[in-house]
């Protein structure tokens, strides 16, 4: 049953997406309504279902038309109204899903793009595929801390490691470097800023990235690391930071 379940996940999504197209196609009147007529507004209001009714209709549709006895979908809770549509939480064989539907349960949306979240995420991206945080700069002895997390067995870590070591050396008077190669140190920082993968770089708790910068190339990656550190040291040492001023301005 577990195999069916796994294969079913994309199947449900795809079939539902196709079904939406089919519903829209078979009901052209939905697209040709005159705008703003009183009669249409009254009809729309009559078609509005309660959250429970809409949820039950959707589940019935999924069970009868999509799953067809291979598995059973069931509501996890009474659907809720969110941003003018109904949010329907259901499960199939222990897997949880969130779909959305119109209030008349005629349209079902298996996937939602959260534009606000996307915009927020975009705003937090900075140079070199680093993410920026709103956290305070983490310091040791009054200097920003730069963390590296990696493992000797990991080729991407081996690529990144000499670059960050070399850049950190240029700032030896301005930062504290925590060089965590195959180490269990600073796991609180690692857990907070990494996805759990290595290599991971955390620069003063303000900028962080999981994965190496191999796509940038060694030269550009070194410049990116330098610029991010300069941002935290107040452009010190100035001779080092002046060389990457253009990048610093993009942060």
């Amino acid at each position: 049953m577990k195999n069916i379940n796994k294969n079913l996940i994309p199947l449900v999504v795809i079939v539902v997406a196709l079904a939406i197209g089919a519903v829209a196609y078979s009901n052209p009147s939905l697209f040709t309504k005159k705008q703003g007529s009183q009669q249409d507004n009254q009809q729309d209001n009559q078609n509005v279902l309660s959250t429970q009714e809409a949820g039950e209709q959707i589940i019935k549709y999924i069970n009868e038309n999509l799953l067809q006895g291979q598995a059973t979908a069931s509501l996890l809770e009474t659907p809720i109204e969110e941003n003018g549509v109904y949010k329907i939480n259901f499960e199939v064989e222990g897997q949880k899903y969130n779909f959305y539907s119109t209030k008349d349960a005629k349209y079902l949306f298996p996937q939602i793009i959260d534009l606000a979240k996307e915009a927020e995420q975009k705003a937090l991206e900075t140079i070199g595929n680093f993410s920026a945080s709103k956290d305070d700069v983490c310091q040791e002895n009054g200097k920003p801390i730069v963390y590296f997390f990696g493992s000797q067995g990991c080729p991407h870590c081996i690529w990144e490691h000499p670059l960050i070591e070399s850049v950190a050396l240029k700032f030896k008077e301005n930062i504290v470097f925590h060089n965590n190669m195959d180490s269990q140190e600073d796991m609180d920082i690692f857990s907070k800023y990494s996805t759990g993968g290595v290599p991971a770089l955390v620069i003063g708790c303000k900028y962080h990235r999981t994965g190496s910068g191999q796509n940038l190339g060694e030269e550009q990656e070194s410049k990116v690391l330098t610029a991010l550190i300069c941002k935290l040291t107040g452009n010190q040492p100035s001779d080092i930071c002046n060389e990457v001023q253009e990048l610093i301005n993009q942060i």
Partner: protein, 77 residues
């Protein structure tokens, strides 16, 4: 099919590997330190250069995203 891309002696990979074993999840253990093709596969699948990476029936999880892994593998953690 679950593919687990990792590298030896990587404490971060080890934690995830133990988590999968504890929950009885069977997986193909791929050592990217020895397998250049695997390195390419990870890069193509994620666009990133990191380990560990899990491929669960084509769905890619970078790092140890416990919540997502539990959801996809139906683990009650």
């Amino acid at each position: 099919m679950i593919k687990f891309y990792s590298s030896p002696n990587c404490p971060y990979c080890f934690t995830l590997k133990m988590f999968l074993k504890e929950h009885g999840i069977q997986f193909e253990d791929i050592d990217i330190a020895k397998n250049k093709q695997a390195v390419k596969e990870v890069e193509e699948k994620t666009g990133k250069y990191e380990v560990p990476v899990l491929d669960i029936d084509g769905q890619i999880i970078e790092g140890f995203d416990r919540e997502e892994i539990c959801k996809l593998l139906n683990i009650k953690d």
